[in-house]
Symmetry: C2
């Protein structure tokens, strides 16, 4: 973890825009591995997370598993906040590194050269190198005790202006990742209300 006050600027500048929170499915529904930042009592942390699902458009709900063994679990449970940051394929080694050490032992921000910006509605920092940052507030905690399942409301979404469909990374276990491939449209075959 690191001191929360050390907000730094990105070495890699990504121009971002606000995205209506009801539209975050575009990035989260395809199942990318994500980096979850948290902040509690002046300390920040970041973890790699792959078990999540969109749950509702409005309010914009996301459910995810954050196991009790993670240093972030208690920080997020106590603060009731986090940021879900979505990395692109060029960050794969950073993603793996973050997932293979603990914030209880090291300052991951320093070790992996992560740069941050202040979020608008939560204390957890935005990772500037990621193409999307979703500010989240804990919406429902009833399944945390039994399943480590947190239901968050996305209250603010920052996404890169381009590209519209960045190459994300998907985990399959055993140290193997699948990269996002090409997009194909079947828009013409949808009923309008199903889009």
């Amino acid at each position: 973890m690191k001191a929360a006050s050390k907000v730094t600027k990105s070495a890699k500048t990504i121009g971002k825009k606000d995205l209506p929170v009801a539209e975050i499915r575009r990035y989260l529904e395809p199942g990318p591995i994500v980096l979850v930042t948290s902040s509690w009592k002046g300390e920040d942390n970041v973890m790699t997370m792959g078990w999540h699902t969109v749950m509702e458009f409005t309010p914009s709900l996301v459910g995810c598993i954050i196991a009790g063994g993670n240093h972030s679990h208690a920080m997020i449970r106590k603060s009731g906040q986090c940021v879900i940051n979505i990395p692109t394929a060029d960050m794969l080694d950073t993603v793996v590194g973050i997932g293979n050490c603990s914030g209880a032992d090291v300052d991951k921000f320093e070790r992996f050269g992560l740069t941050t910006q202040q979020a608008k509605h939560v204390d957890a920092p935005l990772l500037t190198q990621c193409f999307a940052n979703l500010e989240c507030r804990l919406h429902d905690k009833r399944l945390i005790g039994r399943y480590d399942f947190f239901i968050f409301e996305v209250v603010k979404a920052h996404v890169a202006r381009t590209p519209k469909y960045p190459q994300a990374v998907h985990y399959t276990g055993d140290g193997i990742f699948t990269l996002s491939g090409r997009q194909v449209s079947r828009r013409a075959k949808f009923r309008p209300e199903m889009l």
Copy 2:
């Protein structure tokens, strides 16, 4: 929907093996669109579903959103069972077709030429054209009322012998899909207990 008794054989034969249910993350964690089959009182149905997450290895738990507007919702709620079938990219038009009509109006199995086999532990049928079939029993229904969120236990998993990483399809909204790209290994960078 269709009469549950019409079990047919696949035109496209896929050799399958049993997969330990604790290992289904390989196919489900990357976030593919899936086809969910159900059976209730002699009728079968199938729907397209994209909001799901792995929740636990043992028992093998999967959580997913099946909105109340879907004809399948009541069938799965009442039967407490379903099969999660994972299609490959060559089935994309079938996936879109299934998602844009209702089992209340048509027999989707007939319309889309779906072939089925009997599951081992549940009444819902396996879709033989799909490369993976996960037999599921409802494990926890407490979030169905509030969020349409079903928590299933995967009790049996059938997967294609090859390829190990089939090309799945990921939905991003607006009629646009992302296809799975290539696999990359970072296995050497993982701590053994993190694999």
